[in-house]
């Protein structure tokens, strides 16, 4: 497996708070990497820095071995990198189809398309197909997402990201608002996406979910990536120990990077 997306020594301060402190990260194609850490450890900052949502003070990001700088989310998504934000970033008054294709509308052929007319039917069909394929909880492709339940909204956000992510998919707390069956669906979906050769980065507070689906777990503490360990054979206690600093890297024989 070759590294697809890599961060080297990223630093970012907000005032006196060092949100990222020489933090490293890497993920390969066809791999699920989980980033865990206590609140304020820098997980979300790391995701933002890797997806064009935040500028860093120093450090570099490599995509397919080339140095890149994503200054807008659009830069990242044009490379096939998609994010499901914790706040979902949906337009509540638009329906699932409109949200899914926002910024990527399918236009009609010919002059009509050049005048700005969209192919609504094609977009609705594609959206419906995507929701069915993902076993999504979405029951309507024309109801405003703001009128839907939290789980359905999450489904829309995930389906949108999955549909466009051709290289890397970031999921920030994807199971936070979901019930048991929907959570299982999301975890199954993560595995399917990985099997398609896409790199999946999962940020989650739920240790069992992390251990169930991740290939590797990277632990952040105080803005640093303190340890990487394979999910297999790792216990929840070890993860929690690494997160809180109770367990240092030398205590775990498997540690790969510091």
């Amino acid at each position: 497996m070759t590294t697809l997306l890599e961060a080297r020594k990223l630093c970012r301060a907000f005032g006196h708070v060092q949100a990222l402190d020489n933090a490293d990260f890497d993920v390969s194609a066809g791999e699920v990497v989980a980033i865990i850490g206590d609140n304020g450890a820098g997980k979300s900052t790391m995701v933002k820095a890797l997806t064009g949502n935040l500028d860093v003070d120093s450090g570099e990001v490599l995509f397919e071995d080339q140095p890149v700088s994503f200054t807008t989310p659009h830069d990242a998504s044009s490379r096939g990198i998609e994010v499901v934000h914790q706040d979902l970033a949906l337009a509540p008054r638009l329906d699932p189809t409109q949200n899914m294709f926002l910024g990527r509308e399918v236009m009609r052929a010919g002059v009509a398309g050049r005048l700005g007319f969209m192919n609504e039917r094609k977009m609705r069909q594609d959206a419906r197909a995507a929701f069915v394929r993902l076993g999504s909880a979405v029951r309507s492709v024309t109801m405003p997402v703001g009128d839907m339940s939290g789980g359905q909204r999450q489904s829309v956000a995930i389906a949108r990201a999955v549909s466009w992510a051709s290289k890397v998919l970031f999921l920030d707390e994807p199971t936070a608002a979901l019930g048991v069956i929907q959570t299982r669906n999301v975890l199954d979906m993560i595995r399917r996406i990985r099997d398609q050769g896409i790199a999946v980065v999962l940020i989650s507070h739920s240790m069992p979910h992390v251990l169930a689906v991740a290939d590797r777990v990277q632990v952040m503490r105080l803005g640093r990536m303190v340890i990487t360990m394979p999910a297999e054979g790792t216990t929840v206690e070890q993860l929690v120990g690494a997160m809180t600093g109770a367990l240092d890297e030398q205590d775990i024989g498997r540690s790969e990077i510091a």
């Binding site: 989310p73 998504s77 337009a91 076993g135 029951r139 492709v141 608002a177 959570t183 069992p208």
Partner: protein, 361 residues
């Protein structure tokens, strides 16, 4: 339930989208019902006079200028913005147009064409200024357009020393102002054309989709790569352009600039747009709704005059309808939101507490 049956269910349920269902959920349909009821009441009370073809055409004529402004206002309010400057921009544009047409001398259509172009350009420029200040300088739209309301009106008064210019070309007044085609006022046909174009643009094109997206969640729109600032400038420019065009139509209809007569135009148009179901919080609205919202005051005024009720009651009624329309809309939305939250709560309660969280606490 097995995975496959679940997916079949999904297919079936997603398939059940009906046009009727979508229409029922639109505020503009309910408010259209209110308009029909009002028309029916006056129609029963005064069938011969109120429902007379001429009276209906008069109502249309009186609503035409505001209809053109309401098209732009609908776009602006859907972005969760507001444009208070439309009345002043109308005055400013009509002054510029009238001044130049007066200087050219009345040479018929060429004069009118130049005047129209100038009205459009001057209106559009005010709109660009509004849009730039809102999108780039990040000044709240209410403040920006309150400022330009004052500036545009003041500028118009400086140019004219506060005296109306009463020399609109005869051909403009005769053909557009008083002219009728098959009994329909020309000015109403022009307004209808603008409204239809505006409605198509809002509901069927990508430009319209982005207008809704910006009003619904500006950050989400930015994240998917929509040039929000540019779109906002374009939308305010469109609103200004249409206010400028309304200035030219006003010259046609009244034969004079109406410097002192537009102080409530902005509020009347905003009220119409909001009555029509366009949310002042953005993200929601329709061109049909704005037109219905515009015709309710116009129909009430005509109806009160014909039935002998003091027309002052129209102002009272419109105010009450405005508040009632928004109240009903809020109630419906709150009910929908409650439903959504209840569903989430039920699911959270059904899901066991996450063991991972419990363990590292």
């Amino acid at each position: 339930m097995s995975q496959s049956t679940m997916q079949t269910d999904v297919t079936v349920e997603i398939g059940q989208e009906t046009l009727a269902g979508r229409l029922r959920s639109m505020q503009s349909i309910w408010i259209l019902g209110v308009l029909i009821v009002i028309v029916a009441i006056f129609g029963v009370l005064e069938p011969t006079r109120f429902l007379a073809y001429n009276n209906l055409m008069n109502i249309a004529q009186n609503a035409s200028i505001w209809a053109v402004i309401a098209v732009g206002m609908t776009y602006v309010i859907i972005t969760s913005g507001i444009d208070l400057s439309v009345g002043s921009v109308l005055v400013f544009s009509s002054v510029i147009s009238a001044k130049v047409m007066e200087m050219m001398g009345d040479k018929g259509w060429p004069t009118v064409a130049v005047g129209t172009l100038l009205a459009l350009v001057s209106g559009g420029l005010w709109g660009v200024l509004n849009g730039w200040l809102v999108a780039k300088a990040k000044v709240p739209a209410l403040i920006v357009t309150l400022g330009t309301l004052s500036i545009a009106l003041g500028a118009a008064q400086i140019i004219t020393s506060g005296l109306d210019i009463r020399s609109a070309p005869v051909v403009l007044q005769d053909s557009v102002g008083y002219g009728r085609v098959a009994g329909v006022p020309v000015i109403s046909l022009i307004a209808l054309f603008v409204v239809i174009l505006g409605g198509i643009g809002l509901h069927m094109t990508r430009f319209g989709r982005y207008t809704f997206a910006i009003g619904s969640n500006e950050l989400a729109a930015r994240r998917v790569g929509i040039g929000v600032d540019r779109k906002l400038i374009e939308i305010y420019a469109l609103c200004g352009l249409l206010a400028g065009f309304a200035g030219q139509l006003s010259l046609a209809q009244y034969g004079t600039t109406t410097i002192a007569g537009q102080s409530l135009t902005n509020l009347n148009v905003i009220a119409a747009v909001v009555i029509g179901g366009t949310s002042i919080f953005g993200g929601q609205g329709s061109m049909l709704g704005s037109m219905v919202g515009l015709f309710i005051p116009a129909v009430l005024l005509s109806g009160f005059v014909i039935t002998g009720v003091s027309p002052f009651w129209q102002t009272v009624a419109v105010g009450a309808i405005l508040i009632a329309a928004v109240f009903v809309d809020q109630q419906r939305r709150a009910a929908a939101a409650r439903g959504g939250r209840a569903a989430v709560k039920a699911r959270r309660a059904a899901a066991p507490a996450s063991p991972g969280v419990a363990e590292y606490k």
